[in-house]
Subunit: 237 residues, 4 copies
């Protein structure tokens, strides 16, 4: 399989996986994968029903210019948002955008998802932030690029490492999640929805519950990430 075919295949599988995980209704979602060496991103074509999607239909886009490199279809209308994130964050290898039910509810409520338990801390190194609303001129202009910019701005304002906080809620819109590759982007999108649902029910039971202590947050996050991680199997095993 050529490098391009393999990249398409990975983006294709990520798009199928977010549907299988119940994160997508109709065509409300898209996943991409990047090949840093080739400077090419593979992304879902715009508005194509998931049932009709094939690996061949995945569109290849030049990360620098934003031009379609290969593909019979128009790429996702959210393509400029993905490009901003790939350009700004070197470590990101895959991006998933959905309107998943509970994460979208937090985004529409204009609220970050508080860190209320260890499931959250296993994946996200603190509360999952929500962006500010876009200004009128940002919406009227190159809207999708500005959406990417406000995600970047949010992480920078909070001094967050994008691989330690691999998701942001776009206000009144929905979540973007990412990871070092497309597979981990999907995993983070699935974890985000589980965590969003869990936090929704928790605040419904106890409106004023506090976030977990920093010690517990660090412990769970570091069980799975970084040099001291001991969750999972050793790399290369």
């Amino acid at each position: 399989m050529s490098g391009r075919d393999e990249l398409r295949e990975r983006a294709f599988r990520a798009n199928l996986d977010i549907v299988a995980a119940g994160l997508v209704v109709l065509t409300f979602g898209n996943a991409s994968a990047v090949d840093r060496g080739a400077g090419v991103m593979a992304i879902k074509p715009s508005g194509v029903p998931y049932a009709d999607l094939t690996a061949d239909a995945i569109v290849l886009v030049d990360v620098d210019t934003g031009e379609v490199v290969d593909g019979a279809y128009r790429p996702s209308s959210d393509t400029p948002t993905h490009l901003v994130l790939y350009r700004r964050f070197d470590g990101v290898g895959g991006i998933v955008h959905t309107h998943s039910p509970y994460a979208t509810a937090w985004a529409q409520a204009l609220l970050p998802i508080p860190c209320l338990g260890t499931t959250h801390a296993d994946h996200f190194h603190g509360p999952v932030p929500v962006t500010r609303a876009l200004a009128e001129d940002e919406i009227a202009g190159d809207y999708e690029t500005r959406t990417g910019n406000v995600v970047v701005e949010t992480l920078e304002r909070l001094e967050l490492d994008p691989l330690e906080m691999p998701a942001v809620l776009v206000a009144s819109h929905g979540p973007f999640a990412w990871g070092e590759d497309a597979e981990s982007a999907v995993e983070n999108a699935v974890a985000l929805e589980a965590v969003a649902a869990s936090a929704y029910r928790t605040v419904s039971l106890a409106a004023d519950v506090a976030q977990i202590d920093d010690g517990l947050l660090q412990r769970h996050y570091r069980r799975k990430h970084g040099a001291g991680a001991y969750y999972g199997q050793p790399r290369g095993s």
Copy 2:
């Protein structure tokens, strides 16, 4: 396939699709398609379990007279409501009625679904309205026709184009959705339920959240609809 068989087939598939999408429990729902040239509507037979439904069982009804043109069964008891909408709105090619869980909750709460995010704005050009309650004499008389009338009255009172607001909640009852053909009517019914669920959870998290700004609403709606649309693939591609 003859024109009548094709029309039946489209109505049949739309009825199956609303079940597959989880919008229907038992026999709580029906879908129809219209052939404007022939002046004929195809609709689900009344009270037939979805598991037993075949394309042959779909009933053909004259749009003007309301008489059954062809079919072995009695048409859906909601047939007069569908007829009112087809007669009044030329651009409508398909109609879906369901008691889908979250849209019905808003209808029973006598509340419009506020526009709280871009998923909503992608499909509905503003809040999805709820009708007034029917008066006693409307209920006692030709109830199903009056149900259609109050849907029309609601759109007219709010000066809404039915193709820009392709759904209305009937108070204490449930949603009617439509589109330029049966396929888009199903899509709008699915989007409506997703949006209704999302808004339900949003107001549960933040009771007083405001609707999105008009600029964001217009941007998302116009991404998908009208001359400037750039979502999806070019027509004819």
Copy 3:
């Protein structure tokens, strides 16, 4: 097929149908069917996992004496409750007991399910009542018989015809539903859960919403039931 085999088959299928409809977790539920001519009830064996259930395992019980007439297993521990209902209500041909999620929540909240929409009115002729709590001596004694008695007492106190109100919530326990045969008992149990979920979400959106007007309740109930019914296909068609 003999009469006994047919009766077993109908009870068996009703038990499978409540699982397929998502009303049952683990072994929390049972369905029965009665043969009035033979004076025999067919009911699920106690505690047998649904995956292992066969028509042969269904237990036949004499309606008058409560003795097992035929069957290798002990009948459902709720057998005495079913017997009370069959003895008291001649028109009942099938009974379903579940701990379905939303109906059980209303039962545990000690609240009747208010009639908030037409889905409800299509199946239940008014709010679905909840019993009083059983007294200490009722619980300590022949508990399952007393459970049946309090269902009967509830319908009688409210002067409800059991075929017009084919379900009652047992306080702190869960719903019993029934119908003129096992198939309609299952249908009523499914409708009850849909209505319970819908009402739950409605009061969450609008805590003080009023029940629907009597005119709308009668119209919908009478569309489907009694001499003037016009929903569904003519009997014998």
Copy 4:
């Protein structure tokens, strides 16, 4: 099949069953089984996707020393928690840990699950307790062992028999459930989630509803457990 293979097979099946029951998203959960005679526990390997899990991948661990006895993978990171429970509670033969949606919401809300109905009383002899939060030094040190200790401490403080209260919520984390064998541990984890969901909805409908009377609790618990049990089929039948 050898004893070790059989033990692996039982732990393997328990791990599949919690996924099939919808209790697990991604790799958030693990099940174990113990062979008391051999002093060996079989547990899921850490971080292995459920879709890739085989019986051979199950890891065998010495209950006393905590050393891996047999297996190609690193055992679940929660292994020390399981070991504490097996060491302390002789009657426990299987343990299930999940982040199931509703039970986790109660754990994150730092609230016990009140006993609001008979479904609860059928499985848990009173409210399902929640642990205190772990102290900073407990989190920083041998965290997973301390998690087991705080479960034990909670049962002892409340003077609960672990087989009569076969689940505890770990604060800000999620549920541990167990039983006399792996199969009943799974059953208790499934029942716990159903009960947690039901209680969530009940308090949403009626915030101040009281727990059920002790008489009803005892009756339902004793229908299924102990010498006077009459639910299910006679042992050995």
